[in-house]
Assembly symmetry: C2
Homo-oligomer: 221 residues x 2
DNA sequence: CAATAAATCAAGCGATTACTTGAGTATATG
DNA sequence: CATATACTCAAGTAATCGCTTGATTTATTG
């Protein structure tokens, strides 16, 4: 029956999008691009794959409509096609973490035991920001901070954190955030700060999630 | 570096979930299960695949944590693992339809030209339901209506619709709904009703989306 | 306990995937 | 215009995927 063939083709098209995210390296690429646009070369470095392979993965993502590219001189710069794509990636991660037991194990292997790291939800952090009772630190690389950050946050990359820690009021609480829930930077920052006697917690998500939730941000002009 | 291996493993685990949805037949299965639980046999019938193949697809989905099963006599009944899974499927469909041009084409091939079918959003329908200025028809199979439907909706499967149409007040507007945005039943119902002079539109989504949005439903006791 | 129904398992196949390597193509720069 | 940089393309290979077929397991029923 032709109707069956048409239905199969439609669902195969839906599946195309999932298939594009159905590879760890492509998932990593989307995760990085959720922070902001990147050239093929930069992405290859971030995911530690050959340029040729990275390029092919990017084309696979582009065929599925998840990323777009533009030329900038000799470079080709890729970005996620829309916020919806980043939201889909976030939801996928969430489903995986609640339904696949192994994710917890693998996350622990990658990030270390995080039992000691206290977390703050976006809602709570927003309330504290409005009150002015919290110092927010963005511990991502400078470029990511520059292209957009939580409104009122200070840039504090890990290598400058020891210096900054000494300047911090011992009384006021600090919240660090970075790329997302599975990003190590904020964990490392919290540990470093607590070791120096600063009361520190981390945002349980990251900047892309904060922005998509419609919470206040400062964006690059 | 071990850290890289750990990161790769974590992202590969995330990708496992996407991979499970990265096949048209498995996507169809999730789409059906979003309506309610089904046995392997029933599912095989719905997606027109062999029982063996369907069983294998179900096991793939179960390994990815997307579905669960229970035994009921000689049958094994599968269901989506949680509402979050159905929501992920909905979002995937949405991303595909906004970012993959071919989805529009394939949907038209499967559903026919829908330009003539007027659509109502869930928000508008809810408002009209509260006012009592609309008749809502559930045009899904009896079993699906029985396991849960929009509160206040009448069951009106396509084969009974001609009879029911004659009883309808010509003045009051009718809204039909079924499984989701890509389900034919509501389209067919609208065409049938309009051909008989009844002002009919369709809900732009379906029952699972309505329920997940927290709108009023009647569930099986 | 035999017979039946429903599902799973195992083996096999052609097609696809993920990577590598090496060549080819744009674009910018001295 | 030659050279360098950044990316894409093409071909090859081992591994995986999607399906089929036929045997096997699990639970119910006469």
């Amino acid at each position: 029956m032709a109707e069956r063939a048409a239905k199969d083709a439609l669902f195969t098209a839906f599946a195309t999008v999932a298939k594009a995210l159905g590879n760890g390296r492509r998932a990593e690429i989307v995760d990085v691009l959720a922070q902001g646009e990147r050239s093929v070369d930069e992405l290859a470095g971030e995911i530690e794959q050959s340029v040729a392979n990275t390029s092919q993965h990017l084309q696979a993502l582009a065929r599925a409509g998840l990323v777009r590219s533009r030329r900038d001189g000799t470079r080709v710069v890729y970005r996620v096609a829309s916020d919806e794509v980043a939201a889909l990636w976030e939801m996928l991660r969430s489903v995986a973490s609640t339904h696949l037991a192994e994710v917890e194990v693998l996350a622990a292997a990658y990030l270390g035991d995080r039992g000691d790291i206290e977390r703050v939800s976006a809602g709570e952090l927003h309330a504290r920001l409005v009150d002015g009772t919290v110092t927010v630190l963005d511990v991502r690389p400078r470029r990511e901070y520059a292209s957009g950050h939580i409104r009122g946050a200070t840039h504090a990359p890990l290598d400058e954190l020891p210096r900054l820690a000494d300047e911090m009021t011992r009384g006021s609480e600090v919240v660090a955030y970075c790329r997302g829930p599975y990003c190590v930077y904020a964990d490392d920052a919290v540990r470093l700060l607590r070791a120096r006697g600063v009361a520190a917690r981390r945002l349980d998500t990251g900047f892309p999630e904060w922005r998509r939730a419609g919470l206040p941000v400062a964006l690059a002009g």
